[in-house]
Structures are given as C-alpha cells and as structure tokens.
C-alpha cells in the first residue's frame, strides 16, 4: 500500500478502460443515483398503495399487504438481492428465467433498482400506515358524516394530511435508498462503493479514494436532506406546527 497521498491520482488513467479515475468514480455516482432514484420512486408507489390498503376495511387485502411488509422487513437486503438475482431466474417458468439470465438489459441495475424498491416500499408502507392512523378517528368520521364515500374521504381528507405527517420519516428513508444502493455491489453493480474498491485495488491510493467517495456520499445525503426540507416547507399548513399530527 502507498503511504504517499497523491491527489493527482484522480486524473490518472485507470486500467479498467473507463478513462481516468475521476471518471471511474463518476460512473459509480451515476449508477448509485440511478439505482437510488428509481428504487425510491418504486418504493413510494408500492409503499403508498400497501400503506393505504393496510388501513382499509378489506380484511383479506390488508392481511396480504401486512404479509408483504413483514417479509420484506425481516430479511436482510443483501439476502433479498441474492434471491432476486440468483434464485428468481431458476424458479420462474423456463422462458422467463432464460430471458432474465440472457436477454434482460442491465441485469444488475434492474435487479438492484426493483429489489431496492420492494425493500424500501415495505418501510414506506409502515410509515404511511402509521401516518394515517395518527390522524384522529374523528377526521375520518367528519369526512364520512359529510357524505363523502370512503375513497373520497381518503383522497381529500386523510391522505393529504398523512402525506404531510410522513415527510420527516420519509426523508430518512430516501437517504437510506442512497446508502442501501451500495449493497448492490454484491451482485456486481458498478455503483460508487464498487468503483471505490476497484480504485483502491488498482491505484493503491487508499486515503484519497476513500476520502473522495465519502465526500460524494455525504454530498448526496445533504442534497436529499435539503430537497426534503424544501418539500416540507412547501407543504406546511398555516397555523399548524410543522409535521404535527392531530
């Protein structure tokens, strides 16, 4: 290992054929961002639907959504990724399995993004459910008493408030999607941590590499944090304490 700290290494050509090392890291940043953002969008959709279903009075559906949440919350993300990547193509019907193994474009990225979406969706569902339940029962009754149907009551009364209540906890889930995307290096996605590992191994510049990558992650966390704070401010209701329930 090289004790000499040489910042110039970022400009040197890497042996991977990706151009200079800074470009290597940039590719990593791109995949990390793409995986985290697409996983997050998927998680929001799945989580919102599953969270609402869990509070709705349709018992069978609510149980199904509960089961989804419990399964995906109680298995480590790494194990889930291995399952989607190595096991799923084997247990699917032959044609679909072959497609996944041979023809699916960007297999590591798609597996990571969908896997991350399903994993995070379970957590979002948990937040959405507790957001809805934290609204007083009276709000639902007030909507119904005015003659709104149950779906209308959700649409106009419960969800707009629940959405505001879950913004703070969702901020940390959003940050988690960036952090968790690093796990996808285990299935070969060339995201940021994967690229850091490569750069350390080829360049031996441990300190420079680790420092650069850590700063990039902290920068992404800061960006997410600012973005969510901005959304929270925009969604604030006059006369109410920020993020407050009831």
């Amino acid at each position: 290992m090289n004790l000499h700290i040489d910042w110039g290494v970022l400009l040197q050509e890497s042996p991977t054929g990706d151009g200079p090392y800074w470009k290597l890291l940039l590719t990593g940043l791109k995949w990390t961002t793409a995986t985290a953002l697409s996983g997050w969008l998927l998680a929001l959709v799945i989580g919102a639907v599953a969270g609402v279903i869990r509070t709705a009075p349709i018992r069978a559906l609510a149980l199904l959504a509960d089961a989804y949440v419990e399964v995906f919350r109680n298995i480590p993300f790494l194990v889930q990724l291995f399952f989607w990547f190595f096991v799923l193509p084997e247990i699917l019907p032959a044609g679909a399995g072959r497609w996944m193994k041979q023809d699916m474009p960007y297999p590591e990225f798609l597996t990571a993004a969908v896997g991350l979406g399903l994993f995070t969706g379970a957590r979002v569902a948990e937040q959405v459910k507790s957001g809805i339940l934290s609204l007083s029962r009276g709000q639902k009754n007030a909507g119904l008493a005015l003659g709104l149907t149950l779906p209308q009551t959700y649409r106009h009364v419960l969800l707009p408030m629940a959405f505001r209540i879950v913004i703070p906890p969702l901020t940390s889930e959003f940050m988690n999607t960036f952090k968790n995307s690093a796990v996808a290096l285990a299935i070969g996605l060339t995201e940021l941590t994967f690229q850091m590992k490569q750069m350390v191994e080829y360049s031996s510049q441990v300190i420079v590499t680790i420092f650069a990558v850590t700063v990039l992650y902290m920068f992404m966390a800061l960006l997410v944090n600012r973005l969510m704070a901005w959304i929270e401010r925009r969604a604030r209701v006059p006369g109410m304490i920020a993020g407050g329930g009831k």
Partner: protein, 223 residues
C-alpha cells in the same frame, strides 16, 4: 424420499450444519458485541450532544452526522482497507467488530438522545426542587423514565443491526449469510442455499419483531 421442501435442499443443509451454525453464531456474536459497545459509545455521544459545552456538542454531532450519511458497506471497506494500511494485522473477521461498534453507536446515540429529551423539563425541575443534584436527578428520575421510553427503539435498532451483519459477507467473512454462500458455491446450489438463508433470517427476525411490537404497545399504554 426427496429432501427438498420450500425450495431448500435440507439434506445439503444437514450435511453442512456445522459450518452454517458456526456462521449463525458469528452473526449473533457480532450483533451482541456491537449492541453492547454501540450502546455504551452511543450513551457517551448522547450526553455529549446534550452537554453545555459547544465543542463537545459539535464533535458528537459531526460524528453522528457523518456515520448516518454514508453506507455501512462503505464503512466496512474503510476499515477493511485502512487498518492494514496503518499496519494493524487484525484480519477482517475481527476488525468488523470495531467497524460495527463505531457505526452503530451513531444510531444508538440518536435514540438515546431522543429518549432523554422525551422527558419533560418539568421533571428536571421537580427533581432539582427536591434538592437532587444534576447527577442524582439523571440517575434516579430522568434515565429510568427515558430508558423505558427508548427500550423498544433500542431493541428494534438491534434487530436492524442483526440484519446488517449480513453485509460482512461482502468482504468474505463466513457469517450466517457468508457460510450459505460458501455451501452454495461449493455445491452449485445457489437456488437452494439462498432460499434457505432468506428463510433462516426471516425465522429469527419475524418472531422478534412481533414480540417488539407487543412490547411497544405495552410500554405505550403504561406511559
């Protein structure tokens, strides 16, 4: 008779039970040790964050902020690369004990801090009005209440921590997941062993998380 059930080759599991149990033991040891050291270090950090001294507050806040912004995988690699770089020859399977304690402390710290802050200022005032010192009021009034409030969250974090220990597989350690990977690749049984790993983690985590939910409800009622 076929030894397959739920997509798992149980004969293969039985043949390798020593390796797999060893892996599980490693995962549990790593969890327990990181919890113990993480909570101790987390307590120190939490008290620093609540201290009057601005320097202490800032140091603790930066520590927590740093580790909560970056992936655990990255931190695992930090120590994986840096310890040998600085001449420590611990070997990865020992060095991750340090990694996890340092990383998890940031998360425990925030839980402990919120727990202490959840006690109303009136309680501090009441304790001091009775003539208790700061240390006494912490010891007899604030911490016992705070601990009860934060217990479910501390345990929940530990459950997350247990799941997180699977990440040491990435640097080749034979924890529970890692030993599954070894059996899987030695026997060309990826499908069977990864299904088994998923089942294994679920069977440990699901009952515990259900029990935690019950505990949470009970504590919420008493409060």
């Amino acid at each position: 008779m076929s030894s397959h059930f739920l997509g798992v080759d149980w004969q293969l599991v039985a043949d390798n039970h020593e390796l797999l149990l060893g892996g599980l033991r490693y995962s549990l040891t790593l969890t327990a040790s990181s919890m113990a050291f993480g909570i101790v270090l987390g307590c120190v950090l939490a008290l620093m964050r609540l201290a009057d001294n601005a320097l202490l507050r800032n140091i603790a806040a930066s520590y927590v902020n740093l580790f909560r912004s970056i992936p655990l995988v990255l931190v695992i690699f930090w120590f994986y690369f840096l310890l040998p770089f600085f001449g420590f020859k611990l070997g990865p399977d020992k060095s991750v004990f340090i990694t996890f304690a340092i990383f998890e402390a940031a998360y425990y710290c925030e839980i402990i801090r919120a727990g202490i802050q959840s006690i109303s200022r009136g309680q501090v005032g009441a304790a001091q009005a009775l003539g208790l010192t700061y240390a006494q009021s912490m010891r007899y009034v604030i911490l016992p209440q705070a601990l009860r409030n934060m217990l479910p969250l501390l345990l929940l974090q530990t459950l997350v921590l247990f799941q997180d220990t699977s990440l040491v597989t990435i640097i080749g350690i034979k924890d529970f997941m890692g030993s599954n990977v070894v059996v899987a690749s030695n026997n060309g049984a990826l499908k069977e062993m990864y299904t088994f790993a998923a089942l294994g983690y679920f069977c440990v985590c699901f009952p515990l998380s259900m029990a935690l939910k019950k505990l949470h409800k009970r504590i919420a009622v008493i409060r």
